[in-house]
Amino acid sequence: MQILITGIFLGGVYAIIAVGLSLQYGVSRIMNLAVGEMLVAGAFAAFWFSTAQSLNPYLSLLVVIPVAFCANWLIYRYLLLPLVRRAKTRGQLEVDSILVTFGLSFTLVGIFLWAFGGQFFNYSFLSVPVEIFDSRYGQNRVLAFAIAFVVCAALWIWLNHTRSGLSMRAISVDTRAASLVAIDVEKSSNFAFALGGAIAATGGMVLSTFLTFDASIGIVFTLKALVIVIMGGVGDIRGAIVAALVLGITETVVARLIDPGLTLAAAYVLFLLILLFRPQGLFGRAQT
């Protein structure tokens, strides 16, 4: 039971990052391999708020969200949109965007290393135990899960019950058909990319309240987020949330019962199973 709840808490935080990436890949068609660096940027901001300013790290969200949104908006507008326009095929765009976001990822890691150095960072926030079902959990983790729930729920409502959300879903189904029904695809894609980046940075801020991080940890979370997005089905928010919980629970089980060094291997086994048996994702329909 304790393992299950810890796993769900962890999965909740993974879900924040994964829905951000899912939005970027589903709508903007960019496989953003720099998503982990957005997360690390959020974590550094929270760290700075908490230690240098002695403020509540959650206050940093007031800065993190708008800054990450603007930064990602600019990244899409000036780095990625030219590639979208240049690409003749979907495959060409995929290769280009993978290479550019790799470049972006390394550049950001380089800047983090330069600005903060290579050591590990952590700070203490709400590390007070709270009892659920006779077991103790850190309050910071419970709060993180609550934030994850709010983010995912808000995104869910926006995508399924508003007009602008509907146009996002239309683009993710078929870009060309969406532009036929008077949806400004470039503008919406840009917005989706920016929002996805802001969500990922929020995830990083939340994660930093209970996890030790360093400048180059982003790639680990990028990988996990990618596995989740593919497991959940590309562009499928509901699938991503379920897949994130599955990954969180699996990792916790493996870490507690076998070896904490094998968490990535566990994620990979899941990934492999999906690739072999359901490449379209948990809830995806087979492509005709």
């Binding site: 590639l83 290769v95 280009d96 470049g103 550049t107 290393l113 990979y268 690739l275």
Partner: protein, 316 residues
Amino acid sequence: MKLTQTDVWRGVAILLVFFVLAWLPAVPGADGWLSIVVPITMYTVLATSWAIFSGPTHYVSLATAAFFGVGSYTLALGLDSVPYPLLLLMAAVLGGVMAALVGWATLRLSGVYFVIFTLGLAELIRQVFTWYQNNMGGTRGSYVFTDFTDAHIYWQLLALALLVYLVGWLINRSRLGFAIRIIGGDESVAKHSGINVAWSKIVLFMVSGSVAAVVGAILAPRFVYIEPAMAFNPQLSFMVVIMALLGGTQRLWGPLMGAIPFALVWEIIASNFPAQTTLLMGLAFLLVVFYIPNGISGVVLRWYHQARARQGVNHE
């Protein structure tokens, strides 16, 4: 297969170049800069074999470090009981088998799945290996004691480079090479013309995996002491990709044009500003995609064709 006269002359010229290169260690004072020449040769071999698969198919493979590590460990673990040449062969076979398995799981799907899978592959093998050694094997690292100097390693790499160029040239002229160029152009066209798409991709990936594993085995004696974090260093995969792309993957000699300048710049940055290497790698990726998408060899070829057009020389 028919060889034209140009082919023969070209072959003789290349052999001559390799013959001259093989004398490098004999140059007085070579020991010092052989430590730069060996990595350059290594990266050239890796980047060329990478481009044999990834160039025509556009599947970005980040598995080089995984193959390299497996090769290194094959050598380290077998050195006491198995003769050296046999170990190189074993590394090649293991690399090929691994590539076949990875390819079978991922190459039938779109390129994104492949990139993601290979991205974590080195890290995955490292974790499993570390776990295995911690729980079953006892010690973490292994010592590799041989009598090899840098010169020996250099000669082996040079021989391997020659082999890679030969294999790459043969593939280009074979049905497989033709098939793979069609697949790279349009996969559904390839399927409709009766090409076994998955199989072709897997075979090429196996070639590139074998070569990387052999390079790992050859380089192992240079490390003396091998541990998982070093043998499976993911940075190697990215270095190889950026060098191949910088050089251009449309010609067999393209990656060479990327490996030499990038390895030199890398060496300079790493010794003067060791903290900035990641930044350099990132900027190099951005530069290549935005400004030289066909690589240095692409630029060279364009100049060459422009120069010929200006002189009014046509192909006969």
